[in-house]
Amino acid sequence: MSGQTWMILLSIALGTYLIRALPYVWMARKLNKQASQGNVSSTPVWLTILGPTMIAAMFGTSLVPVEPSLLSWVATVIGCVATYFIWRRTRSMGYPIVAGVLVFGALTVFFG
């Protein structure tokens, strides 16, 4: 890698880190300030909505199969249904994910 490419890499690495760290520092200071003034420290309402919707959006993008085809879409839907039913029974994170991957994998292997 040339010196210029290293410079680009380090700039992106630093920029990405700052994008992750600075908003946290800003919010932590805001909450501390509220607490020191005797107010109940609270996150802005729009942020408490945006957090869960970001997760839902990640779910949406992850639903698109790596190699889209009828089989991969059907396997994705059935895998999600399996994950849902195991989640309803166990209310845990591990078992539903394992079940979903197994069902998805079985369909991909047997019908692929």
């Binding site: 919010m27 932590a28 839902a56 779910f59 790596v66």
Partner: protein, 242 residues
Amino acid sequence: MSTPAQLLLSNPWKQGAKDALPLLGGYIPVAVSFGLFSVQAGFGVLETILVSAFIYAGASQFLFVAMVVSGAPVWLVIVMTLLINSRHLVYGPNIAPYLQRDVRWLPLMHLLTDQIFALTLTRMPNMTPSDRLRWYVSAGVIAWMSWILGTALGAIAGDELIERWPLISEVLPFALPALFLVMVLPRCSDRRWTITMVIATSTAMLLKLFGFPNIAIPAAAICGALAYYAVHPSPTDKGVLS
């Protein structure tokens, strides 16, 4: 996003490791692909591994390699990759209320990927403040290491791996939608939140399908938030707080 506290293990290190395991199914195949892509584009094995260690953000790493190889202007490479990562801006403020005042959180922000953010927002409300740092380090470092090791595997033997076990790269990534699904489901406990989450999910899926993968997450999240404000709460709705 509540998961009953009693389901958590007493040891936060073990709980973090357990929670991070599903991430590996999504991280390793993508990291292997990145390692292979980077080496084929002309980067060395060590350079490729360092890109993954330092940037640690999937889409922007692919873009970085592709733009550098194509000879794009320096400023454009930096601006485009940072734009892709700008969705991370809302992650820190969302988890800040759960992080106690401790300077060690600052370097740990490097580990705050999409998936670690989602896990953190799901798990931390149910943990004691003293357990949170240990849980985060455990889950975050395992995810980071899997990304680096997957990249190394791809850079060194990616061709052979993908040729020998093609199904691995097809099947294991399903761990990610399954993981996100079990994080989304607890939030769908009333009509207003269910509509919000369905709109965010379907918008993101459509945007990705129609060729806008990089703006899909922030744009769909904003659509979901707008839907939340547009839907009038019914008497049984639970409000914004977890």
